[in-house]
């Protein structure tokens, strides 16, 4: 009999529970959940702000999920320490929870760089949780002047959620372009144009240096008056619990291809973990939902005595604004070749190296993009297919008849 404990209650945790229960339906599972809600679809908080998703219908699983899976969930409770010798987790209210197998699925936290005068700002928000969304939802009015610091995925999703609700919206970022972690200048310009059409203004290459109440003094010296400030500069993996006990931690908690940390019987999954990115050939934090799901499941299966390897993780991002979609996957390693195509309002970039597709960025041409992703994840050698055709269109017609027979000829 095991005694499973999971720290966190997001996508990675839920998938970990499913992984465990696929092999072990008997042993108790306890979930420590800092947030007071059943696991919800975190990416939907922007849709909720926009009125396109119902906060009451954002749960990841049916209402009876925890009960059906025999899980005890400690809502509103935080894990504050791990004792790897005694094998127990200390909770904020002082209690100790014994475990035989532990999964740290603690996600990430908004990173707020030190900014002078931040304490003088009355209405400031992060945008990571249901409660962040609800607070912002209550504060915004049709006259609000909103300043968002950070033009990454989270800042822009927040901007989209507020676009029809606020008086004005300005997004600043130290980077010279928006979505700089996934797009180059050209792709970012396409996305930015679409956002600007919807009334969102940008201050690229500039960010708030200090605050004086409702005024931001920018690095450039410009001043910006606002009513609501959203800080979306970035996120940091929640690694402290494992770092504190001497476990291997880099940007995230380092895990092997079985989601084991360096500490015996402790696993980690999701945004807090740093695992192998097969498109890069190195470890990296992949703070995206599909990765949390696949890592969580892998951790759960292995915690329950199974043998699951997850070794083909790659970055995957699908983000769209007002009908213009941008799909990216994989990486552009040093020395890669680039194939590009473009037209009015769209662009496609594919990166190849050593005969393999390693990554791509598509803006406004999303059709069947998963075929490209499969080439990266499955490491299909490009010389086994018609890459000339594939460059123009993501189609399985570029595969050999035999490859297609394997893909389409039986159960997969």
């Amino acid at each position: 009999m095991e005694n499973y404990v999971i720290i966190g209650n997001g996508t990675a945790a839920v998938s970990c529970i499913e992984g465990i229960r696929s092999l072990d339906t008997e042993s108790p599972v306890t979930v420590i959940s800092a947030e007071k809600y059943p696991a919800y679809c975190r990416p939907l908080i922007s849709c909720a702000l926009e009125g396109k998703a119902d906060p009451g219908n954002m749960n990841q699983r049916p209402a009876d999920f925890y009960e059906k899976n025999g899980c005890r969930v400690l809502f509103g409770t935080k894990a504050v320490g791990i004792d790897p010798d005694k094998k127990s987790v200390t909770l904020n209210e002082g209690a100790c929870l014994p475990y035989t197998k532990l999964c740290v699925a603690a996600g990430s936290s908004p990173f707020v760089p030190p900014m002078a005068g931040l304490d003088t700002v009355a209405r400031k928000f992060s945008f990571m949780t249901m409660d962040d969304m609800l607070a912002l939802d209550a504060a915004v009015t049709e006259n609000s002047r909103v300043l968002i610091v950070g033009a990454g995925l989270i800042g822009l999703k927040c901007a989209e959620g507020l676009a029809e609700r606020a008086g004005s919206l300005t997004v600043c970022d130290l980077a010279p372009r928006i979505l700089s972690s996934i797009l180059d200048e050209e792709g970012a310009a396409l996305m930015r144009a679409r956002l600007e059409e919807h009334g969102i203004s940008f201050l690229p290459g500039d960010t708030a240096d200090r605050f004086e109440g409702n005024r931001a003094v920018m690095k450039s010296g410009k001043t910006m008056d606002f009513d609501i400030l959203v800080l979306a500069v970035g996120v940091r993996a929640n690694t402290a619990l494992v770092k504190d006990i001497g476990g291997d931690v880099n940007r995230g908690i380092i895990v092997d291809r079985h989601m084991r940390t360096s500490v015996p019987d402790i696993y980690a999954a999701g945004d807090c973990a740093e695992g192998y990115d097969s498109s890069l050939g190195a470890n990296r934090v992949l703070a995206i939902l599909p990765n949390a799901r696949l890592q969580g499941e892998c951790a759960g299966i292995n915690m329950a005595g199974g043998d699951r390897t997850f070794d083909n993780a790659v970055p995957l991002n699908a983000i769209g604004f007002f009908g213009l979609h941008c799909l990216t996957a994989g990486s552009a390693p040093e020395g890669c070749a680039v194939f590009e195509e473009r037209g009015p309002g769209w662009m496609k970039k594919l990166w190849t190296k050593d005969g393999f597709l390693t990554g791509f960025a598509l803006v406004g041409c999303e059709e069947r993009a998963g075929i490209y992703t499969s080439l990266i994840r499955e490491r299909i050698p490009l010389d086994t297919l018609d890459f000339g055709l594939l460059r123009h269109a993501a189609t399985t017609a570029a595969f050999s008849r035999e490859q297609r027979r394997r893909k389409f000829g039986g159960a997969v």
Partner: protein, 143 residues
């Protein structure tokens, strides 16, 4: 489970499956009034080139990446193995398009994703693409 399979050597590339699919899922009672003069958004599509054509629809994978990647909890796999989409939960983020290795998902007219659900819950009751395939290039069977 029974799935839809295509025998590409028999496929004529006639696109009838696309029309039968769009009609079966239109809820309409006759094909002409349901589809005439409108762009169609079928859940199966013909791919290929001058040499070969074949129909592609959801493979209903045993380990479906689309379900695992869905950020909205809109895609799920039933105990019968069928992968379904709850359209009211889909936010049209395209993550499923980004991960499906077969290129089997595409949006409906309204931007919300749609996919083959084997016609199990529409009036056809069994895959309309299969029923209407003139050359029996698409089959519905256990493999």
């Amino acid at each position: 489970m029974k799935r839809v399979y295509v025998n590409e050597e028999w496929c004529l590339g006639c696109h009838l499956c696309e029309y039968n699919c769009a009609f079966a899922n239109s809820g309409g009672s006759d094909m002409a009034s349901a589809l005439r003069g409108k762009p169609i958004f079928p859940r199966i599509h013909i791919e290929g080139d001058e040499r070969v054509t074949y129909a592609v629809s959801c493979r209903h994978c045993d380990d479906p990446l689309c379900v695992k990647a869905c950020i909205a909890g809109a895609l799920s796999q039933g105990e019968d193995g069928v992968i379904r989409i709850e359209k009211t939960r889909c936010v049209g983020c395209f993550t499923c398009v980004l991960v499906c290795p077969y290129g089997a998902l595409a949006p409906a007219e309204d931007g919300v994703m749609q996919k083959c659900e084997l016609c199990l819950s529409n009036a056809s009751g069994e895959p309309a693409c299969v029923k209407g395939c003139p050359n029996r290039a698409i089959v519905y069977e256990e493999r």
